[in-house]
């Protein structure tokens, strides 16, 4: 979990990290198969998960048959209504809807929040429309959870300090091992029939995800391209096109 909140009719005393959520909101389906992200971690038995995806149910479940997973195409609706893949209002609506929060409460909070950060009335209205659409698309779900028991053993200090604990990493950077291509919402594609190999995309790519192949042509490193689409914006010949990741147009 990278962000979390608690809501209750009773006073909340516990703060900080939520180890065992009742509801998980997964904003990007590529996280599901990412062992570092492991977004179902800790989700309680009988818990609810909402996943932003266009993939079939079976591919998002990851063996958790003890939870209810609902799928919703937040990115698609965000692009249609807001014109940008900004998902906050939609995911808030999805979580509110499945966990039984009233629409009025959601929309009031949304208008207040977005007003407070200085969004204009037009954008606030679009976000309200986005949230309302998602809210209507889903239905309240029954939440009846129990914690998945975890082994929580403390280790004594003598074990922690046994190796001296001096930071002794001599290796230089290893971020190349971490592929960031799954961050993409949009996938750039080069039309080699139009491309003159002018290298402007190569120069502008902020992630060094453009390289030159053995044939001397520029090519995209899809393992690391984050889909910012600067290459498409900068290409003087409009030889780069975009498509939504996951096969959705």
């Amino acid at each position: 979990m990278t962000a979390f909140t608690r809501f209750s009719d009773e006073k909340i005393t516990e703060k900080g990290f939520v180890f065992a959520p009742d509801v998980s909101a997964i904003m990007d389906d590529s996280l599901i198969s990412d062992p570092m992200a492991n977004p179902f971690a800790g989700l309680r038995k009988g818990g609810l998960a909402v996943v932003n995806t266009t993939k079939p149910q079976a591919s998002v479940l990851q063996g958790r048959d003890d939870v209810t997973v609902v799928r919703v195409d937040l990115t698609g609706q965000a692009l249609r209504i807001l014109g940008k893949p900004i998902l906050s209002s939609g995911i808030a609506a999805a979580v509110a809807r499945i966990s039984g929060i009233k629409k009025e409460a959601l929309l009031t909070a949304l208008s207040e929040e977005l007003g407070d950060i200085g969004l204009g009335a037009d954008m606030v209205a679009k976000n309200v429309e986005f949230a309302t659409t998602i809210y209507r698309e889903l239905a309240p779900l029954k939440l009846n959870t129990e914690e998945v028991p975890t082994a929580e053993e403390l280790v004594p200090l003598a074990v922690v300090v046994s190796d001296g604990g001096i930071e002794k990493v001599t290796n230089t950077g290893n971020s190349y091992a971490r592929h960031t291509g799954n961050w993409r919402t949009f996938r750039p594609t080069i039309d080699y029939a139009k491309c003159t190999n002018c290298m402007i995309c190569y120069a502008y790519c902020p992630e060094s995800a453009m390289s030159v192949g053995e044939d001397g042509r520029v090519k995209i490193d899809y393992d690391n391209c984050k889909g910012c689409m600067i290459c498409m914006t900068e290409c003087p010949l409009k030889a780069v096109s975009q498509s939504r990741e996951g096969g959705v147009q």
Binding site: K15, G16, A151, E152, E153, V155, L157, V169, N171
Partner: protein
């Protein structure tokens, strides 16, 4: 009353606004920056009638704050972590000047290695500086303690600067319902600050002079100590008035499920909420568990601690800080508060945990209660606990192996 959802940082800024501060010298640092950004916005929008200036360092910031306070301005500023360490030289000066300014510290572990989440080595580095210290558990307490701290600091019996502490992330970026007191009522509670012999360009005065002689120095130092001790009584008076006006009450310490408690955990700041959960869980299985929260760290509320811990079987002191080579910083203070008292607890268990905001489970704190029970049952000498879970240690090993080029 229904509160407005505010982050701890905005709650701190709101406290400064309600206190009608005159001057805010500022310097950014994560996770504090939202406080000064919020104040800067409010000053620009005309919601706050204050002078906001960004200085070039925390050291200069504190110097400006202390000097302005001597000139008669009500001063608010904020810092965190390394920023707090960088103010340190001026903290001792400003408190020696007897300038009652207020510093909000948003706790963050100190480097190296670098971390952003909270522990209390930063604020406890100011432990001996002569600043009063009030530590908050909730966002509501942040606003309220800012107002109370000004009231105490500016009292003529005290005249010392104060720190209000709030944990980074756990309070600074956590939104909770906060009831903001009405300005009219705050004005009644906190009248304008009246300096003693204010510095004026037209009427020069001297502060913080060299005294050279040890007996003169001792005189001023002892008086500073006396004023700090007096601050507890002044806080209690102010707190009673605060409760009358706003309906919320604060003491130097706060007890939770203490009535018949045999095993008591001493905590402070935002992780106290987790301690409350652990106490509830222990109670559910029939253990007489309780919690003592420290609100006031300076002056140290020795008598209140001794009174509330009297007759308990075992007390655990949860230190979210570490003095390498010694252990937790508050443990010896608690032990010192108890040693000469009749009916002191049979044993005190030192616990260090949640360093750098280490994600802590209720079970970890339950394990602390279980250790307290074992100490009582077996009559053994408490061995300090340093909390880390097995699953965390294996993640450490994994991270080190990846960093070394493995997988």
């Amino acid at each position: 009353m229904k509160g407005k959802l505010l982050t701890g940082n905005v709650a701190a800024a709101a406290g400064a606004m309600l206190a009608r501060v005159d001057y805010v010298p500022a310097y950014p640092i994560t996770p504090q920056t939202e406080i000064i950004e919020t104040i800067a916005d409010w000053v620009r929008e005309g919601k706050m009638d204050s002078r906001f200036v960004q200085l070039e360092s925390e050291h200069s910031m504190l110097t400006a704050a202390g000097a302005a306070s001597l000139a008669g301005a009500r001063v608010f500023t904020a810092t965190s972590s390394q920023g707090m360490l960088y103010t340190l030289e001026m903290l001792y000066n400003v408190s020696g000047w007897r300038a009652p300014m207020l510093l909000a510290n948003v706790s963050r572990g100190v480097a190296a290695p670098i971390v952003l989440e909270p522990d209390h080595n930063d604020v406890l580095s100011a432990r001996d500086s002569g600043f009063l210290q009030f530590h908050s558990e909730t966002c509501q307490e942040v606003t309220d303690l800012v107002l109370l701290a000004y009231r105490v600091a500016e009292d003529k019996r005290v005249m010392l600067p104060a720190i209000v502490n709030l944990d980074g992330f756990y309070l600074s970026f956590t939104r909770e319902p906060v009831v903001l007191p009405e300005q009219k009522m705050v004005d009644r509670f906190l009248p304008p600050y009246e300096p003693v012999g204010p510095m004026r360009a037209t009427k020069p005065v001297s502060r913080g002079s060299s005294v050279f002689e040890g007996y003169l120095y001792s005189y001023f130092r002892y008086n500073q100590h006396g004023a700090a001790l007096k601050a507890k009584e002044v806080f209690n008076e102010a707190s009673r008035e605060f409760e009358g006006l706003f309906g919320r009450s604060y003491g130097p310490v706060e007890g939770y499920m203490l009535d018949d408690a045999e095993y008591v955990l001493v905590m402070s700041n935002s992780f106290t909420g987790l301690g409350r959960q652990a106490v509830k869980r222990m109670r559910e299985v029939g253990v007489k568990a309780g919690l003592l929260k420290l609100v006031m760290i300076r002056p140290f509320p020795t008598d209140e601690i001794a009174a509330l811990l009297r007759g308990r079987k075992v007390v655990g002191v949860f230190d979210q800080n570490l003095a390498p080579g010694s252990g937790g910083i508050l443990y010896p203070e608690i032990a010192g508060a108890l040693y000469n008292r009749r009916g002191r607890p049979n044993a005190i268990l030192p616990v260090v945990g949640a360093l750098g905001g280490k994600q802590t489970t209720t079970k970890e704190l339950s394990a602390v209660f279980e250790e307290m029970m074992a100490i009582d049952r077996e009559g053994k000498t408490p061995a300090p606990m340093f909390l880390m879970r097995k699953d965390e240690l294996s993640r450490v090993k994994k991270a080190i192996s990846v960093a070394e080029g493995g997988s």
